[in-house]
């Protein structure tokens, strides 16, 4: 970088001229408010929901046991949604995560029944997911096919593969190794603080994703591809590699989700496991404020989004709403929450 650039007219940065319209400082302030609102995003909604359910259920929501159930229920979706965040940040979509989860769980359970290979079931499940994800990414990046179409195809095809793996039956293994990750808890202070292993895994996934997105070169490249793919290509970014990576991560995390489910249930069924999980994952990402066209969003938002979905499910059961109405209410809350988000963003732009 030459230090001898034009400095004749270079005003000091802080003394930006008081331009008409919006001064730079004011614009920054506004941008910053907007970013904070995006980052905080749905957190107030999550808190309101928790408090609301606590009151309506006569104080049964905020109990150690119930919170344990909520986080346990949100764990798998959090992991899937983390992978989905990578994909949606590049402006893509992955509809196949539910099917990949099922296929990975099947593969894991089958391996776990081999006496000598049993302990390898967990990496096998994760690897299965990664392979499917990389296949998705390869088709999208190298053949330049639209992500929606490719993953819609693999939604069906991988579901078929999952059924094929277990010859269309349910595979059981009551003595599956590492079963503790599905049902056990990590005890920090005996009798006071213990966290379900599923939730520990989910939080680790979020943390690693955050580091990857915000602290590595690859992370910046992911945002760049989502923000402006042509510009990214001209800037020398290997767009194809970024795309294969994000779909690979989504598949890998779906595989991890499959392993978590398998450990929790000691069983997997290629037909039923993970049905429509992709929708919950996409919902969590969108509730978390990630832009559907890519380039904008954060992994913490996704975590909040996944928690909102879990709190809703749990809270509605707690207060005794019937299954049918749960669907209606969940759907409306999702639309309402996003509408509120949009409204607040506009509001912040005005004030």
């Amino acid at each position: 970088m030459p230090e001898n650039g034009a400095s004749a007219n270079a005003a000091p940065v802080k003394a930006a001229p008081a331009a008409p319209g919006l001064s730079a400082a004011q614009e920054t302030k506004r941008q910053r408010t907007r970013m904070i609102i995006r980052a905080v995003g749905m957190l107030p909604v999550l808190l309101l929901l928790c408090i609301g359910f606590h009151v309506l259920s006569d104080g049964r929501f905020f109990t150690g046991q119930n919170i344990g159930i909520v986080v346990q229920q949100s764990a798998v979706n959090t992991v899937l949604a983390a992978g989905m965040t990578f994909v949606i940040l590049t402006g893509g979509i992955d509809l196949s995560v539910g099917s990949i989860l099922a296929a990975s769980a099947m593969a894991g359970l089958i391996i776990s029944k081999f006496p000598d290979l049993g302990v390898l079931w967990l990496p096998a499940a994760v690897l299965t997911g990664a392979v499917f994800g990389i296949l998705n990414g390869g088709l999208i990046a190298l053949l330049r096919l639209p992500p929606f179409i490719v993953t819609l195809g693999s939604l069906t095809a991988v579901r078929g593969a999952a059924r094929l793996l277990g010859a269309d039956t349910t595979v059981f293994n009551p003595s599956i190794p590492y079963a503790f990750i599905g049902n056990g808890a990590l005890t920090f202070i005996p009798g006071v603080l213990s966290i379900p292993w599923l939730w520990v895994i989910a939080l680790l996934v979020i943390l690693v994703s955050w580091l990857l997105l915000k602290r590595t070169v690859l992370g910046v490249h992911i945002y760049a591809v989502g923000g402006n793919e042509s510009a990214a290509r001209l800037a020398g970014i290997k767009v194809w590699a970024v795309l294969i990576f994000v779909y690979g991560v989504s598949g890998l995390l779906a595989g991890l989700g499959g392993a978590m489910q398998a450990a929790r249930l000691y069983a997997a069924n290629g037909l039923q496991l993970g049905q429509s999980y992709e929708l919950d994952a996409i919902t969590a990402v969108i509730l978390g404020g990630t832009s559907f066209v890519g380039g904008i969003g954060s992994i913490w938002g996704t975590l909040v989004g996944a928690l909102i979905i879990a709190v809703l499910s749990n809270g509605l059961i707690l207060i005794g709403v019937s299954d049918v109405w749960q669907y209606v209410i969940k759907g409306l809350v999702i639309i309402g929450a996003v509408a509120l988000d949009r409204y607040r963003l506009q509001g912040s732009a005005r004030t």
Binding site: M1, P2, E3, N4, G5, A6, S7, A8, N9, A10, A11, P12, V13, A16, P17, A18, A19, P20, G21, L22, S23, A24, A25, Q26, E27, T28, K29, Q31, R215, T216, V217, L218, G219, V220, H221, Y223, A224, G227, N228, S230, A231, A232, R233, L234, A235, G236, I237, K238, G295, I296
Partner: protein, 510 residues
């Protein structure tokens, strides 16, 4: 010219505490072309948005049309008052026909069905009057930018607009298309329309303007009549200071160069057999070479072939005398060639990302620790240094690039390229959509780069710019090199000579 058609008196517009416009007066007569000039952010767009009804002026502002006070509210208000705006980014639907676009929002229907024939018949005479070479049935997607502009004008005339506002109408046009547009604008003036013409380009204002009004920082600086229009006067009014040496060229490859060895960059007989049909050119260290030609001559395409953004069919690139294979823009960067795109919003910047990320994007990998962890301190330092060195005006390096003015955006993009420390810099329309002050700064940056030994290739449609900053000009015409002109100690580069090469003596088939 008795009664003014449009009078704006004490027009102000505030956004909260900020005054974007302060007591601006503007008087426009029927049958005149009134040029409106000012740097980016001077308030031109705000003023036009008030006329179109997109903004409501502050109380106390007064707008009269034909002497009658009017309130313009909403986009329909502008249309009702007889005001039409031709935007920089054309507002046509490419998937619809010319007639459908002209009637958009005012479709004629009969019994609930679209009356296509009636609409096409209604558009015909207007297209004929404008001398259009396409029919009402033509799909807009099949039209060139110049033809699309004609459709926009036809839409304005069809709505019986009497005041036409044109915002940088030649930005996307070739020289030939611009000439035809100027002829048309003069014809419309003769027909009694009032035309408000917004442009950064001095030559256009010379050629067209009957009067020039200059805005700066939201206030009216003054108006000049035809006889008083002079470039230095206008520039001084616009920037509020003397820009004595607008084009800066202090470097001289003949003096600075120790050994005129092999050219740093040589393109040898490069072709894609579509837009580029066998072009060779060289750029030496410390030299600024201009690549001139009409829009569509294949200059940008040639640049894209050199940097591997498009596949080469034949020919090759040599760097410092050695043939290199460049298949992607990434490989071009590795080979030391950086390219500044002509379309910074679509192909250059990441508008949602911070200036910091935009500036550092190309060197993130090089700076990273442990093979991929961002070095954030280094990135911040680099961005801050770039802000100072290039005079980028923004509150801090963390603001999104999309919020900056055109000139500052261009400097951010330029900083990204300079961060690489390229041997060869290809600049495609480096000052397009950039205000006068920033232009002059960019010229100075180019000059300094050449002084420090960088080989610079400047693609530009702005001939005074090419003449002002280049040592040598290569002219392209219809995909081939038409010739080159060298500046020497005694002769300046001549605009006529370049144009003669660019257009060719005989008629070229498109």
């Amino acid at each position: 010219m008795s009664e003014p058609i449009l009078e704006m008196r004490r027009v102000s517009k505030s956004f909260f505490s900020i005054k974007a416009l302060r007591d601006v007066d503007l008087t426009v007569y029927a049958g005149e072309i009134h040029a409106l000039m000012g740097e980016n952010g001077a308030g031109k767009s705000t003023l036009m948005k008030i006329l179109s009804g997109a903004y409501r002026p502050d109380p106390g502002s007064e707008i009269r049309i034909d002497g009658q006070p009017v309130q313009i509210s909403g986009p329909l208000g502008g249309r009702a008052a007889g005001i039409a705006i031709i935007y920089q980014e054309l507002s046509l639907a490419p998937n619809l026909s010319v007639a459908e676009n002209i009637y958009l929002g005012r479709e004629v229907s009969r019994g609930g069905l679209l009356a296509r024939e009636t609409m096409q018949a209604g558009v015909g005479p207007i297209l004929a009057r404008l001398g259009a070479d396409f029919t009402p049935q033509t799909l807009v997607a099949n039209l060139s930018m110049g033809q699309r502009q004609l459709v926009e004008i036809a839409r304005a005339l069809h709505a019986r607009s009497r005041i036409l506002i044109m915002d940088e109408p030649t930005t996307a046009l070739s020289a030939g298309e611009s000439e035809r547009l100027f002829a048309l604008i003069r014809q419309l003036r003769a027909e009694g329309l009032a035309i408000i013409y917004i442009s950064h380009r001095m030559d256009e204002v010379y050629a067209l303007g009957d009067r020039v009004t200059v805005l700066r920082d939201g206030t009216l600086v003054g108006s000049l009549d035809k006889g008083d229009i002079r470039a230095d006067t206008i520039v001084r009014m616009m920037v509020g200071r003397d820009v004595s040496s607008f084009y800066k060229k202090e470097h001289d490859p003949r003096n600075d160069l120790k050994a005129p060895a092999a050219p740093v960059l040589a393109a040898v007989d490069i072709a894609d057999n579509r837009r580029v049909k066998g072009c060779s050119l060289t750029v030496h260290a410390g030299e600024v070479v201009g690549l001139a030609g009409l829009v569509g001559a294949g200059r940008t395409e040639l640049a894209h072939l050199i940097i591997g953004a498009a596949p080469m069919v034949s020919g090759h690139v040599e760097i410092e005398g050695r043939a290199v294979s460049i298949r992607t823009p990434g490989e071009a960067l590795d080979a030391g060639i950086a390219y500044l795109t002509e379309d910074r919003k679509a192909l250059g910047l990441f508008l949602d990302m911070s200036c910091l990320d935009n500036i550092n994007l190309a060197v993130l990998g090089r700076d990273a620790k442990f093979g991929g962890i961002l070095d954030r301190d280094k990135a911040r330092d680099r961005a801050r240094r770039a802000f100072t060195a290039l005079g980028i005006r923004a509150a801090n390096v963390g603001v999104p690039a999309g919020g900056l003015s055109g000139g500052n955006q261009q400097k951010v993009l330029l900083s990204r390229l300079l961060a690489i420390g390229p041997k060869i810099l290809i600049l495609d329309e480096p000052t397009r959509g950039v205000d006068v002050g920033a232009k002059s700064e960019i010229y100075s940056i180019i000059d300094n780069l050449a002084k420090s030994g960088t080989a610079v290739l400047v693609i530009s449609s702005d001939l005074p710019e090419i003449i002002g900053i280049c040592d040598r000009v290569v002219v392209m015409r219809a995909g081939r090199i038409a010739g080159q002109i060298r500046r020497d100690a005694t002769t300046q580069l001549s605009q006529e000579e370049i144009m003669a090469l660019a257009t060719g003596t005989e008629q070229l088939d498109a």
